[in-house]
Every structure is written in C-alpha cells, then in structure tokens.
C-alpha cells in the first residue's frame, strides 16, 4: 500500500482535490514583485513565533530577574544573541511590512466594496502588530523600555471614561508593579500572537472567498493571460522573498545585533524618554497637543483609518473628488514620516 493511498483511505480528500485547493490561479499582477509582498508580514510572523519560543525558554518575566534573563540570553546562552537579534529585527521588518502592505492596499483602492471587511481585519492586524512590538520591548526591562511603558500607561490614563481602567488593565494596578511584566509577557507571547493568527486566518479566508483584487496595467497587452499557477510559479516567488528576508535578517543580526541599555531603575527618570521608532509619530503628536485633546484627536484619526472604506465611498458618491483618497493618503504618509523624523532627531 502506498503512502498516498494510505492517506487517501483515511482522509476525505483526493490528491486532485488537494491540488485544486492549493493551486488556485493567481492574478497576473502578482508577477510584479511589489504586489507579492502581502505574504511578507506573515512570513516574518512565523520567524517571530519560532524565535519567540526559543527566547521564552530562558526569559523570566519578573522585574527582579527580567533584565538579567535577557542579559543571560544575550551573553551566555548558545546562539542567544543571534536569536534575540533576529527576533528584534524581524519585529522591526514585520511592522515595516505591515505598514507597506497597508499603504499598497490603500493607494490601489483595494479596500473598496466588497473588501471593506478585509481592510478592517488588516487594520486590526496593524494595531495588534504594534501592540506586540510595544509589549515585547517592555519585556527587556531596560531603563528606556520601562519608562516607555510607564509613559504609555499614563497616556492611556488620559482617555476619557475608560482611561483609568485601561491603565490598570495594562499595568495590573495603579502603577508599574511586580505583576506588570507578567501581564506584558502573557499579552506578548500568548494573547496577541493568537489574535494575530486568528486575524491572518480570517484575512486569508476572506481573500480566498473574494479573490485577490485584479489589476490591469497600461504596459500589459490585452491578450495577456489573466492568471498563472500558484505552484510552482508563485510559490517560487514567495520562496525568493522568504530567502531574501532570511539573508537580510541574518545580516542585520550579525552586523547590528540587539543591544541592551542600562537596567530599569524606577527611582531614576531618564533625561530623555523615547518609545520604539514605530511610536515616534504618536509620541510627537501627543507632544504637539495636550492631555485629553491629544488622545481624543488621535483616537479620531484611528477611527477614520478603520472607517476609511465607508468614508471614501461617501466622498466618491457625494463629491466630485474621485481621487481624494490618494491625496489624503499622500498627506497622511508625509505627516507620518515628518512626525517620525521630527521625534527621531528632537532632543526632547
């Protein structure tokens, strides 16, 4: 009895059906590399899961031991520095990839009817990724990550009505305490990854149900085939992207390995507090305005981002500005880059 027939007898799916399921025709525009980057965040997420599990073998989520355990990973554990550095750089690249993917979807209008749900799922993925980055950095328990988390919690405290509750939920109390790191660890290593897995599954399922948005480019002949096979053509493309990412990650991890600042000291506020780079934009925004106004305006922007498919639909239906989304998008990107650079170069 062959292995194929052994499985065939036990699973209600034939080889032909499996091939059809996995080898769905891929829209032709995905031959263009820029459009094939949607899988990059998912790929990096897998890297994060694997390296994260390895790091969790040694990490201890208590304020008295967290920093020492990270130091132990970095300086003593075999390949610890490499795994930690890959984890750090993959996190950075994953955030970049999610943002780029979201921008590509935005500027190509791929969020429009009937794909509003997947836009919202994508936005949820973006925010989950940012939250994972925030909680992950906090786990290092170095001076800046500790104070970054403290400032983050204090910011959430300014949200009307629910702010205090959010802060207590985040810190497991009114202030950073013995249980805070455990909470961040559970969020970072369990709740957020599981949520991301669920969201990615939903994202892919919706894509499979709706099909990928198809584009026709000006330089393509009318007679060009509209689709090509997933296997092996697109799989090769994804493999190349994956391998490029691994080589880049490996190079970054060895050339610019993850460092470790001074250990957190709750009694000594650093002269300059800065969060991770992906929060620079929000941090600068909060500095431009004060207290609740800053938090509320930012909440409004986030709401607009989530609701954009419907807002865009309204603009297109009721105004003559059919391409308003592009200009608003450019304005948004310029603002994000501007505020990020401002915060990066500002002393305070």
């Amino acid at each position: 009895m062959s292995v194929a027939s052994w499985f065939g007898d036990r699973l209600p799916i034939s080889g032909r059906q499996f091939q059809e399921l996995t080898n769905e025709p891929v829209p032709y525009h995905l031959k263009r590399w820029w459009f094939a980057l949607g899988g990059t965040p998912a790929y990096l997420f897998i890297v994060q899961i694997i390296t994260g599990i390895l790091l969790a073998f040694y990490y201890e989520s208590s304020p008295s031991t967290a920093y020492q355990s990270v130091e132990h990973i970095t300086t003593s554990v075999s390949f610890g520095w490499y795994i930690r550095s890959v984890h750090k750089w993959a996190a950075t690249l994953m955030i970049v990839a999610v943002i780029l993917h979201q921008m590509r979807v935005f500027f190509t209008g791929a969020y429009r009817n009937p794909r509003e749900i997947n836009w919202v799922v994508g936005m949820c993925l973006l925010f989950c990724t940012l939250m994972t980055g925030f909680t992950g950095y906090s786990l290092v328990y170095e001076q800046l990550s500790f104070w970054g988390a403290t400032v983050g919690a204090n910011i959430s405290d300014t949200i009307p009505f629910v702010g205090g509750f959010l802060k207590r939920m985040m810190l497991a109390g009114d202030a950073y305490n013995q249980s805070t790191l455990s909470r961040f660890f559970v969020l970072h290593a369990a709740i957020l990854p599981v949520t991301i897995v669920f969201l990615i599954a939903t994202h892919i399922a919706v894509i499979r149900m709706q099909g990928v948005t198809e584009f026709q480019f000006k330089d393509e002949d009318e007679g060009t085939a509209r689709t090509f096979n997933f296997f092996p053509d697109h799989l090769y493309t994804e493999l190349i992207i994956g391998l490029v990412l691994m080589v880049v990650l490996s190079a970054l991890a060895t050339i610019l390995p993850a460092t470790l600042g001074p250990e957190a000291n709750p009694l000594q506020t650093p002269e300059v507090i800065k969060p991770e780079w992906f929060f620079y934009v929000a941090f600068r925004w909060l500095k431009l305005f004060t207290g609740t106004a800053a938090v509320l305006s930012m909440g409004f922007i986030v709401f607009v981002m989530f609701a954009w498919p419907w807002i865009d639909n309204w603009i297109r239906k009721h105004t003559r500005f059919q391409e308003a989304s592009v200009w608003i998008g450019i304005l948004g990107v310029v603002t994000i880059i501007g505020l990020t650079l401002w915060e990066a170069f500002a002393r305070h």
């Binding site: 008295s64 391998l243 490029v244 490996s250 060895t254």
Partner: protein, 547 residues
C-alpha cells in the same frame, strides 16, 4: 522572470542563507572560545586611538598589551575615550592632534560609569586624601621627614645631592595609598593645585590667573610636579575637583575585574602594623578557603554574583562590595555601606551616618535620631546578606555579638581611659601640644593606632591571633607597662617642678581609672584569681608542665 531563473535565484539565496548561518556558527564558536579563555578576545582599535596604539606599541608596548587584554579593548573603548580633555582643563594638552590629559580622574571614568563614580564619591575611600591634615601625615612630613627641604650636610659618593626632599616619606609612602594633591609646576616657581584652580562643576578652572601660570614643556604639555605624580592613591585630590583614582583598584591599563576581586588588590594598602586587614583575612577561615579554592572562584565571570557565579570562599570584594543573591546582585563602590563599626579612630564609633555619609557624632538620642540617614544596623543587615549565604542567622548574629563585645571591651577598658589620661595631661599642661615629642605620645599612638586597631580588625574578620596576641595582649601590655607608668612619671615630674595641683588632677584621673573593677587587679593584685588558675593547671596537667 522564468521558472528556471527563479530556481537559480532560490538556490543562490538558499546558499547565501546557509553561508550566513555558517558565519553565525563561527561567531558563536569564537565567542565561546574567548569566554573559555582559549582564544584572546578580538580587539579592534577605535579609529580615534589608532595613532596612539601604533606609537605606544613601539614606545611602551606594555601599555598597549595590557589594554589589548582589557574589556575596554573588547568593547571598543580606546585611549582617547579615557584621556580626552577639553582645552579649558588645567592639565590638558594637544598630543599628536588629540586634546588629552595624562591623569585620568573619576570625572573621566564617569562618562561611562557614572553610577559607580557617584557611589565612590560618597565613600570613605574617596576622602582618604584627608590624611593630608591628619596626625599620620604629621608623622610622615615632620617626624619622619621635614616640611622644608634641607641641606644634605655630607656628600653621597656617586650621586649629586643638592637638597634633601623632606616630603619624600609622605610622597612615596602615605600618599601612594591615600592619594596626593596633584600639582602642576607654576611659572613663578610654586605649585598649582585644585585649591588654586578653584574648578567649577564641570572641572574647569575658574581662577584664570592660576591657569595662565601653568608651566608647560616645549610641546605645550603641562609639567606635573613629580612629588604628586605618579600617584593612584584612592583619595587623590585631582585638578578638576574630583577625589580619588579608579585605577587604585582597577589597575591600568587592563582594568581587570579579576584582579580587583582578589584580596591582594586591597592588600596594597590594607596591611601592615596599623591596619593588617590583608594578614587578618589570610589568618581567617575565609582566607584559608580562598587559597585552597581559588580555582573555583570563577573570578573571570562577568557579574561575579555570590550564590550564582561562585560560593567557594569570600574575598574582601565579596563582603564589602560585590553583588550577592540576597541583594539582587547589586555591586557597591562604597564599602562603607556594609560596615557597622569604624575602628579607625582611638575609640571605635557606631556607623550611623548622615545624608553626606559622615558619621553622626551627636550624643543626645533625641537630637541624634533625625540626623541619621543610614543606620549602623542597616549597614550590618547588608553585610548579613552576604554572610547568610554560607551561615545561618543565629551563627551570624552570635558572631556579631562576639565582635561587638570585643570592640566595646577595648573601648571601655583601654581606649576611653587612655584618651582620658592623655587629655588630662594636655589639659593640665603636663604635656606639650606638639605630638610625638614625648615618649607617652608614641606609647598612646602605638596602643590605639597599631595594637588597638589590630585587635578590633582581628575580631571583625575572625582572626583570633590578631585579636589576642597581636591585639589585646599588646594593648594591655602597652597600657599597664608603659602608658600608666609613663603617666605617673610625668605626674611625679610635674610635682617635682612645682606643678602640684596639675599633677594631683592627673593623678586623680589615673587613680580613678585604676580603681575600676576591671583594672583593680593591677595595683591591688589578683592573687586569688592566680591561685585558682594554678590549681586548675595542676589538676589538668600536673605541676611539671606549668609554664
């Protein structure tokens, strides 16, 4: 891109990725080899120090070799990072394109090690230079030497000696441990020190007249007065206003933590007749264990936390400075944080300290309490954190009972009475105000400064021979056989020279002391006690073996 091209790209990228993993493996193997000491750590000379290293590798190869073996070299900290100076600093000069200073001060080290420098600045170590105004220094500068240079009086064949440097004993002795007041030569023939420069909070001189007078050689390098440099005394008074020298313990230019952790490092200064801590440690069980188990001490470990990195034996650093599992591995650069008695003065004091780490001397309990910022008991508890790694609480507490009892016995039986007799002699004009010009002053100095400290330090670190034979035995002998007879002799001399009232006053002090229950045996005899001892000796060993 065709499928064939994609396959080739995948194969190339796959190979590249595997190569990167091989590189990672190589780096990991190299790291482990360096950690295990099989291979010397990779050293890359920072660009800013390349010229220094190239030149000094020829001129002073030892300096470069030592530095190459340091953690500094491993982390890319070169010569310039420590020696760099601003042009406004008193001792800075341009050296092959780099503005540097020869003397590296705690301010320089604080650029990277600010926490350690701050702790050190508050420690008793950093104020060791205060000896410049102490009795000990009077000994070196006046009694042993001379405050003014003097004529050699007779020739030294083979050596032209114009003048004798009267401060030589202080400069080569006391100040090498306690720290010199670093001085620059002045164009007016004098010396320029921190007192003249009056540096601001950034260490830059505010007295520009003094700055302008700094004598420089033909290359513009300020000339440091040889009497104050070389010097790595732990309380060195630097030109930038800082005190101390990190190199006192962290020897340049390898700054080896391994060496700083070993008792020999502290033994450069903590030894000898007046504070033989090194010898006391060697006599103690701690020192014996260290000699035997040194190979198990993991002295090269990065953090060297007692209970994690080692447990074989304690060294000076273990108890007084290093981290342990009970204190979260926290190292201190203020050894006073764990010391509950100071046995330095004639009468030991309890180490209740104020906000500036100075001992609180107020005696009224009500007034004393608010002044105390860190109590002696808190300090003792920090030390107990160390002790408790190997000893039970009851063992540690009982040890401290023994130690307290010895210190208090010394204080009450000999130190305070000795101080009272010396004070009475002075107050009644029977001794001069000049120290060390009368025999009894030498006697008293030996009693507390040498023998009294030996007894107390011996008890503090469990060295029985130093506590007794080198300590209390000699204290007692010095007290009964020298101090009291000499004091009585001075009294008699006073009486003979017409100072009857003064002599009577001092005699009353002596008599009152010797009438106390603990001293009464001396003048009234202790025949009963001696007889009891003789009987017991006979019972145990027989008459023939009594000796």
């Amino acid at each position: 891109m065709t499928l064939e091209t994609k396959r080739i790209v995948i194969a190339t990228l796959g190979g590249l990725f595997l190569l990167s993993l091989v590189l990672v493996q190589w780096m990991e193997t190299a790291r482990k080899a360096e950690e295990a000491g099989i291979r010397a750590p990779h050293v890359s000379v920072p660009a800013s120090s390349r010229e220094c290293v190239e030149c000094h590798a020829e001129e002073n190869p030892g300096i470069v070799t030592h530095w190459e073996g340091s953690t500094h070299a491993e982390k890319g900290v070169g010569c310039v990072e420590c020696h760099q100076a601003e042009i406004e600093e008193a001792d800075s000069y341009l050296h092959h394109g780099a503005q540097i200073a020869t003397v590296v001060t705690p301010r320089d080290c604080a650029r990277c090690h600010d926490h350690e420098a701050n702790e050190f600045a508050l420690s008793h170590h950093s104020s060791a230079g205060n000896i410049l105004a102490s009795l000990d220094n009077f000994l070196a500068e006046t009694v042993e030497g001379s405050r003014i240079d003097f004529n050699p009086h007779s020739p030294t064949p083979g050596k032209a000696v114009d003048m004798v440097n009267g401060m030589a004993s202080a400069q080569s002795g006391c100040l090498q441990c306690h720290g010199a007041k670093v001085a620059l030569e002045s164009t007016d023939g004098g010396l320029i020190t921190v007192d003249d420069l009056a540096p601001d909070t950034d260490g830059r001189p505010t007295n520009l007249d003094a700055f302008a007078k700094i004598m420089r050689d033909d290359k513009g390098k300020p000339i440091i007065f040889a009497g104050t440099w070389p010097n790595t005394g732990i309380g060195r008074l630097n030109l930038d206003g800082t005190r101390g020298s990190c190199a006192a313990c962290h020897s340049r230019h390898d700054f080896s933590p391994r060496r700083a952790r070993q008792p020999e490092n502290c033994g450069k200064c903590h030894l000898g007749p007046d504070h033989p801590q090194k010898e006391i440690y060697e006599e103690s069980k701690h020192g014996i264990a260290f000699r035997d188990l040194k190979d198990d001490m993991n002295l090269d470990s990065e953090e060297w936390i007692l209970g994690i990195d080692y447990a074989a034996a304690p060294t000076c650093a273990t108890c007084h400075m290093s981290g342990n599992i009970r204190n979260g591995g926290r190292v201190t650069h203020d050894p006073g944080e764990r010391i509950s008695w100071t046995n330095r003065p004639p009468v030991s004091r309890v180490m209740d300290t104020d906000i500036n780490h100075a001992i609180v001397t107020e005696t009224d309990p009500e007034l004393r309490r608010p002044l105390i910022h860190d109590t002696a008991n808190q300090k003792r508890d920090r030390m107990k954190d160390v002790c408790s790694h190997c000893h039970t609480d009851s063992y540690v507490n009982s040890f401290y009972d023994q130690y307290d009892n010895l210190v208090i016995l010394y204080n009450e039986k000999f130190a305070k009475p000795g101080l009272a007799i010396m004070g009475a002699l002075q107050a009644n004009g029977l001794s001069t105000s000049t120290q060390f010009d009368e025999e009894i002053e030498w006697t008293w100095f030996y009693l507390w400064h040498h023998e009294g400290r030996r007894a107390r330090h011996g008890a503090s670190m469990m060295a029985p021979d130093y506590t007794h034979w080198h300590g209390m035995y000699e204290v007692a002998e010095r007290f009964y056989m020298e101090l009291v007879p000499q004091a009585r002799e001075i009294v008699q001399h006073g009486r003979d020279t017409g100072m009857r009232a003064q002599a009577a006053a001092v005699e009353q002090v002596i008599d009152e002391i010797l009438q106390r229950p603990e001293h009464i045996w001396f003048e009234e005899g202790a025949e009963e006690a001696a007889a009891r001892i003789r009987e017991e000796m006979e019972r145990r060993y027989g008459g023939a073996q009594q000796n």
